[in-house]
Amino acid sequence: MNQPITGLSGTWTHSFEEDEGDIQTYRPNGSFAFPPSRQGRDTLDFEQAGQVVSGTPGPDDRLLLSSSGMTSLGMNRFRIGDAQVIEVIASSPDVLKVRRT
């Protein structure tokens, strides 16, 4: 759990049913069967070259995408854009757990 994480990759969708306290659970797109939900799900798409595309359910239930730069702050912490920092609690091919600060 405390191994340093050098990079993030893949496309992840918020599996909010599995959240524990302030720790958010993301599951990989395509291989995880998300249950239907009226409340939309955030997404995180980690791209090459330190970019991340964040998806947020919009006012018409469509995903609104915004692209931001991502920089590693060390200690499994990453800055996304200017305002947001996520701390990666766990990362495996099946699950990504983060805390937003």
């Binding site: 239907p36 997404t43 919009g58 239930d61 469509r62």
Partner: protein, 730 residues
Amino acid sequence: MMGETDPVQQGQAHEMPSGGMKNLKSRPNGSHGGGGGGNDGPGGFGDGTGGDMPQVRQCATMDVHRRLLSTDNEYARMRDEVENDAARFSLAGLSAQRPGITRIPVVVHVVWNTPAQNISDPQIASQIDVLNRDFRRTNADVGTTPVPFLPLATDARIEFVLATSSPSGAPATGIERRQTSVTDFTSNDAVKSAASGGMDAWPAAHYLNIWVCPLAGGLLGYAQFPGGPDATDGVVIRHSAFGINGTAAAPFNLGRTATHEIGHWLNLNHIWGDDGTGCSGTDNVSDTPNQAGGNTGTPAFPHVSCSNGPHGDMFMNYMDYVDDRAMVMFSAGQVERMQACLDGVRSTIGQGAGAIRPSSSPAVAWGPNRLDTFVLGTDRALYHKWFNGTWSPSVTGYAFLGGTSTSVPQAASWGPNRLDVFVTGTDSALYHKWLTGTSWGPSATGYEYMGGVCVDEPRIVSWGPNRLDVFVLGTNRALFHKAWNGSAWSPSVTTYESLGGTCMGQPEVVSWGPNRLDIFVIGTDHALYHKWWDGASWGPSLTGYERLGGACTCAPRAIARAPNRLDVFVTGTDGALYRKWWNGTSWGPSADGFERLGGICTGQPEAVAWGPERIDVFVIGLDSGLYHKWWDGVAWGPSLTGYESLGGICTSTPRCVAWGPNRLDVFLTGTDSALYHKWWDGAGWKPSIAGYEFMGGTVSAFREEEAQESAAVGMPMPHAKKPSPMASAS
């Protein structure tokens, strides 16, 4: 029984007017110049409803929405316009301009990857049924609305019907299917294009597009707000959240995902204002409580947030995020916002196929910016001219449709690209032809023989898609009826049902809703008589009529400007125009009385309604000029008995069509027997107040031949083509 009641009486006989309808200042040909005259009262038109744009209400918006707006300037501009419309409605306290129920044609594109996702027709039908309950407030669970919110639960006056004709006019089921190699779609609109594994949209101006498909990430559905690109307009619904049977799965198996998404499509926002969990967002609706975030599941009442106690969130609203069984209502403010959308950016949807149907006429409109006119040539053949932005085959040209007719052509439309035209032949039988898309049935110049020996003109009305009701007078002057139900004529293609009576002049028929007909005729005592079909039986009886009094000197003209609202216009023995109306419960001004509207009219008046509180009436004066008056919901303009002079020397009954709010198109013939046109575009009369657009006709040829003709034929025009005998379908 008609003609067996009291002698002619009309309590409202008045002196001849000395005011309007006497001046002659212009001719409907040549330069079309000259002004009108003889107006009584203020001359301005259109100063009632639908005037200036009031100030714009400022609304808080959410960051995510702003991001979207900033990405597309055109989208942002359109969204501003939509919000202006909504604000104008709300601020001005305007009532919706659409009369009654708006019936929206729907196309369902089923895009499936696995066979189970290829949902059944009954599952689709179940979804349409849900929409028709939820948007009419006839859902059984509306009664579960907490008492404080129940008075706000409102009928949105919108219904949905699977499209019965394709964009090209071909018969359609309103359901399209394809298998795709895409296992799961996302909200990136790939499902809306054949090139990316989906299916292309049908024209957004006339159809609500619903795509049903597998969606990734548990997404139930998404929408596009009004004002976006046509190619992606509509809603997308997960196959397992669509309808109430088949693959529909709890807790999203009551069809409410489509209700929610169509709410967005009609410009509704999420009820909490899309500001995350804050209290600063707004849904742009004033009667929904301020609310923090979206609710999920099945909350218990009350759920208080943002200091909105004691009643708390209106979480049972379709625009929250709760489970299907927990959402049961739209509020009055939301309905107002949806109706503003229908009057504004979505003004083209549901007009042609769902609006209240006027009686047949030689001029009809099946949609916004669409006009079809039918005339007889000197050869008595039928000719057609149409407008879809430009006139076809040309401004002064006509398309030849064959036949040898003895009546003014009567056209009706039950949907986009669909026209049904009826005439009587030289044998006095009824003949029919129909336009589907660009193709005429039974053939380009052929007609369907429909039997009968008809006196005067037939009248036709359509109360819904694929439905026609035809009324003719027999040689005994009784009223006869036949109907098309989508698959067959009843009682048969060549026979008729007798509805009794002894009628003078042609019948008038109007429909204010599905399975509803109101027929007006003049009896031998010159009184006005009424009968109706209520969906189950004829009233007051199969062959009986309700006597409405009066001493009428022309066939009646009737309009329905809203459900269960009727206005009937006739001329009296003094030549003046008279009106009586049905307000839903009784006849006004009295059971056998009429409201006198002045003037000295020749021929039958023309009346149209482009909104529930709007009537426009056109008459021909003694000088053969065209005169106009209007009801704006409050009073008659230019005055109770005054008229606006619109110039011209008219030789036919004026025919007026309103293809949308604040739009009028008037057609008539001039002394040269050519067709003339003028129109009101919301700002003024075009080409000028007394001017007319010349629409063809060869004056000398027509006059020579006209002298040889004996029977009265309305709106004739010459044409170089040879006459051809009426041909029945072979």
